[in-house]
């Protein structure tokens, strides 16, 4: 493919993989290996013993929450860490574990010292809000199972879902230049979500992908009210300005989720430190 500047790039097709015929003639061994890989890549939701017990006693095998707040990406997760979870009123009650091709490098990565994970939190006194912080890389084939398995544990009646998600500014398409207004929020909501959203809706032709898209699609199809706030930022590492941008997204939940007036400095310092360049020629 030649670009506007004349250089020739070798690119893969944006639409298709090439070796699709090979799948046709697989033998028993191929099948066994394939099913083993599939098993290894499966998504597991684990709850702490107390929660698991309360899950087991209910007839529907679901947990009753009225608000489910999901943060995807380092800035969204960092926002919850510094403004919400730092108050100390939250307990971690479970996690999602999965394995994929990036799991090892995430674990031992030098530049990503911040621990990647996908953890659930619940308020100590009030049990109507469930928070999920996800900084884990979830592969394309694991997104759909993630949504299916997590939502299978949560009671659907009276549930509202809010997703906060990081997005790179380079993916935002607009006829105008945006650099003076970054970072900024855009929203997407399911048909069942009737509350006013606190920012502009995402304009066509922009789309959401990844875990945010998997959750929102699930909610749209299952008629669960859900809203996604996507923060477009030109800085990819955790930073306080991008985190702060998420503040208006929780305005409709201000009754039940109290935001700290200023970010918790210790938590913030820890988050920012993790993303600093650890060693180069000049430091």
């Amino acid at each position: 493919m030649a670009t506007f500047f004349g250089e020739v790039l070798s690119v893969y097709s944006r639409a298709v993989e090439e070796d699709e015929d090979d799948l046709e003639d697989e033998n028993e061994e191929d099948k066994r290996i394939r099913s083993e890989i599939e098993q290894k890549r499966s998504v597991h939701v684990e709850w702490c013993p107390e929660v698991q017990n309360s899950l087991d006693v209910t007839s529907e095998k679901t947990l009753p929450f009225s608000q489910f707040l999901i943060a995807v990406g380092p800035n969204a997760a960092g926002f919850l860490s510094t403004y919400v979870l730092s108050s100390g009123k939250w307990d971690s009650i479970g996690l999602v574990s999965l394995w994929n091709e990036r799991s090892e490098s995430q674990q031992y990565g030098v530049h990503l010292q911040q621990e990647a994970g996908c953890v659930f939190y619940k308020q100590k006194e009030c049990s109507s809000v469930l928070i999920c912080q996800c900084t884990l890389y979830i592969a394309e084939d694991q997104l759909f199972p993630w949504a299916e398995k997590v939502f299978a544990c949560i009671q659907r009646r009276g549930l509202t879902v809010t997703v906060l998600s990081d997005a790179p500014l380079s993916e935002f398409k607009s006829p105008n230049s945006l650099y003076s207004t970054t970072p900024f929020l855009r929203a997407l909501r399911t048909s069942a979500y009737k509350t006013q959203v606190s920012c502009q809706l995402l304009e066509q032709p922009n789309i959401a992908t990844g875990l945010a898209a998997a959750v929102l699609s699930y909610c749209q199809v299952q008629k669960i009210p859900a809203v996604l706030y996507q923060c477009y930022s030109d800085v990819i590492v955790p930073n306080s300005i991008t985190m702060e941008t998420y503040k208006p997204a929780l305005s409709s939940l201000s009754e039940i989720i109290k935001l700290d007036s200023c970010p918790n400095a210790d938590v913030l310092k820890r988050l920012l430190k993790a993303s600093e360049i650890q060693s180069n020629m000049y430091t």
Partner: protein
């Protein structure tokens, strides 16, 4: 798995189903977009499956600020009962290891719905054509045996070209021929499944290269329209098709003023 928007699922008995294959240049998907937006079709349900990579966005066919705020998913079904037409639009690639499962899902859905016929809009790499395919029109068709008896003669009258079988071992043995649709994604699989399961299926495809594939989408859709007459013949080329709002900025954002 098909999930209806309304509580009572729509009946597709005797309908024609048109769907794209995710293939080179996304031509089938672009043509399907044009069709839905031109006919003003209403969304009736979703195909909710783990075989497709998740994506969402706002209504790609929005005509007003109000209709822009409808969430769309990666696979949705649109319908126009006046002309007994259903369209399945697919907006994301098939997950690498799940193409066989996806084909099974689609063929079993086609059978349970009782569609009269299914048309797959697809494309194939232009650079992999063999000598006999290089000359003339880039458009080709394939019919499953169940549909061949009925419409085969009609399509020959239209002077359509059937997709050629190519030599399995070029230059060595010319006797063994096979169907070869490089870059066609699930096209070949869906077609062979429909042949073996007695599904009435037609595949319409165009040879193309990746790039600006909008002209290819128009060609493929006009080709379909020559057969099914979904809209009236245009007086001038491509004027009857309505380009949806989601095709804006297909080649990226505007130019940053700072470069001047």
């Amino acid at each position: 798995m098909f999930i209806s928007i309304e509580n009572t699922p729509p009946s597709f008995k005797g309908f024609t189903l048109i769907m794209p294959a995710v293939s080179v240049g996304n031509v089938g998907q672009l043509a399907t977009d044009l069709l839905i937006s031109s006919l003003g079709m209403a969304r009736v349900g979703y195909v909710h499956t783990d075989c497709l990579i998740p994506m969402t966005g706002n209504n790609p066919y929005a005509t007003s600020a109000e209709s822009a705020a409808e969430l769309c998913t990666n696979a949705e079904v649109y319908s126009l009962s006046d002309i007994r037409l259903a369209v399945l639009q697919i907006r994301a690639p098939v997950v690498k290891t799940k193409s066989r499962k996806f084909r099974k899902l689609i063929t079993s859905w086609i059978k349970t719905c009782g569609f009269d016929k299914t048309v797959i809009l697809s494309s194939s790499h232009a650079y992999q054509r063999d000598d006999q395919q290089l000359l003339g029109t880039p458009l080709r068709y394939l019919l499953s045996p169940a549909l061949e008896q009925e419409v085969g003669v009609h399509l020959k009258e239209l002077e359509w070209k059937q997709m050629e079988r190519v030599c399995a071992f070029p230059g060595i043995d010319g006797s063994e021929q096979r169907l070869y649709i490089p870059g066609g994604g699930v096209t070949k699989g869906l077609y062979t499944d429909s042949c073996s399961e007695g599904i009435r299926m037609a595949v319409l495809l165009i040879f193309c290269s990746e790039g600006d594939n909008i002209p290819d989408a128009f060609s493929l859709l006009n080709y379909l329209n020559d057969w099914l007459h979904l809209v009236d013949k245009p007086t001038e080329a491509s004027s009857q098709w309505k380009i949806p709002v989601s095709w804006r900025l297909l080649f990226g954002s505007g130019i940053p003023p700072a470069i001047f």
